[in-house]
Amino acid sequence: MQNKKLPLFLDTAKVEAIQNTLLEILVNETSLLFNELRKAVKSTVQEKLFSKYDVLFALAHLKDQLEKGQLVKWAQQTKNSISDSDKLLSLGSIANRKNVALLAGNLPLVGFQDVLALLLYGAPTCIKLSKKDPYLISTLLNVLNKNGVISNCKWGLSIADFHDFEATHWLFTGNQNNFQKVKTALETNKVIAHYASSLVRKAGVSIALLPSNYQSLLNNELEALATAIYQYEGKGCRSVGIIVYADDLALTEVFTFLEQNLSENNAARPSEQHQYELAFLTACGFEARSINGKIYTNDPNAWQKADFISLICEKDWQKSNIPLEKIQSIYSISAHLTMNSISTEIIHEPIEFAQKPELFWKADGIDTLEWLINAK
């Protein structure tokens, strides 16, 4: 064990250094570091990559998690899970490991959780940033690097930046269609070794359960539902794209509930495209409503597009044939109003966590840091 280079997360001081440096960027408005982040936010918004609201929401949540000590907690609980001396002895040396992550860029800071896991692991790492989110994560990494709290980490916008890196492990989010294409591109550029292990995230949507006594929902619970649906324009895998409602509710009742609680007072007329989509759904025999820029419908396949929310009755869930691997989380809208779950295999969470998950939440049910530790 003395000759082995062990993962960084075992060294609490180093983890705290990362956490504190990130907090310095996010909290201390007088610091130069904060200014760098402010510039990154400005560029992101000016180039219309994301709205200012979405960027600040993501940063505020990261700040909140770090203030609560969640990075150190993540390291600690991982350490505890391998505190058994046999497991510790068999912990692989990170000297033999090289890691790559490809970030999707469809939401601000998306993939930063994976980045943190890779930093906690501590092996040489390359982060392929997305051209859709080129400033935020690179600024955070830049500051961590300049302050010497991370080392052996490169990042860039092009796969060619990591030519010949020959990673042993790589992470990305995708599907069967693009996995092979991406793998081939990485192997051709020798970014990954041909034997490299991969962690591929596939889940694309989350579900909210609407119980029969929904009239008892509190304002904050309704707000949480709205955030779960509308934050980030509904694009992330943690966004609600499917509402499963209790057996004894009628569809019209569900529509009324949604219209009453999710409409904005000055809601604009549906766009031309939405008017068209509504007519098409009607033609196909589905019910559909446009509510605050999204189309809610009982077409069980509609959720695949970010603008659509599928409404499925609990008793029709099996018939909908939605593959479980596509589901990220199932949210209960209320702690005191329960409903039968539709699956025991998917992680269940309170809806308040939808867009504000814990730092160490398990995408596709997998803790990235644990995967890095256990992967061959």
Binding site: G174, G204, Y276, C284
Partner: protein, 324 residues
Amino acid sequence: MSKFNIENAFLILQWQIKHNQWFGRFANALNFNEKAEDLLFWKWPYISVDAFKKIDGFLCGDTNNIGAIFMSSGTSEQSERAKHYIRDLALYRSYSLQAFYQKYPKEEYAVVAYLPAYSDNPNSSLVQMMQFIIEDDPTNTNSFLNLQKPTISTELLQQLKKQHKRLVLFGAAFGLVDLAEKKALKIPSDSIIIETGGMKTHRKEMTRDQIKSVLAQGFDIPYANIHSEYGMCELLSQAYEQGDGWYECPPWMMVFARPFNKPFAEPIINELGQLYVIDLANEHSCSFLQLNDQGIVNEQGKFQVLGRIPSAELRGCNYLMEQN
């Protein structure tokens, strides 16, 4: 070629709104008022071609007395297959032969077809169309090529010479590219190749230009002799491009383009947009369709197809090679 008859099209529109219950529902949902809109074709309702996937039995009337069912190949990742119920197969035969012979007269051309993978789909409209073309030749020169060992026999070449005909090699693009790259098939230098279908999922996606270059080189014929056919199971008509990059519709078909996400906008000319079609051959199903292809339509009504329309933003994080 005669002009597209808009008055006829309007009559068919009225009839289909009345007799295709889903199309009628679609028109009502859009508050289409046929008396007010008359002959402004772009104000008519155009239902998404996906209706053939989402609605089983998308046609005028019910699914009794059906001549055939055409189904798409279903090559994309999560695709349901489109199903086109054909009331009268003889009608399809008539339209497809007319469209083909307008461009490639029977007296001047003999046809051989090479359709790997399509042959695995017993409901392929393309295979059926080729069947019609081949059977319509009283000299028996037209034929399907052997998929395992495609060859143009000396006998066939002699027939072509005797009949003063040029050869048309009609094939699936990916299959022809395979043959071209292996130089596996010799054809006369004045032959025409008609490719169709793009590369589907069988090979790395190539542009139409790239396909044509590979075919011209591999078969050793001029680039201008590489033509293209635009068709799908949802349309009973086909458009042909004869070497200049522009597809031309038969007289009963019309294609126009609109800006993306503007399904009610006036048509645009010489600008990239989403393609829409009126195909009067679809008289028993629906003639007025919004397609999933993007392209450019010129002043003469000819069009280029430049891939699928940009897809609506999908849920979940997805690393996209093209964007990154």
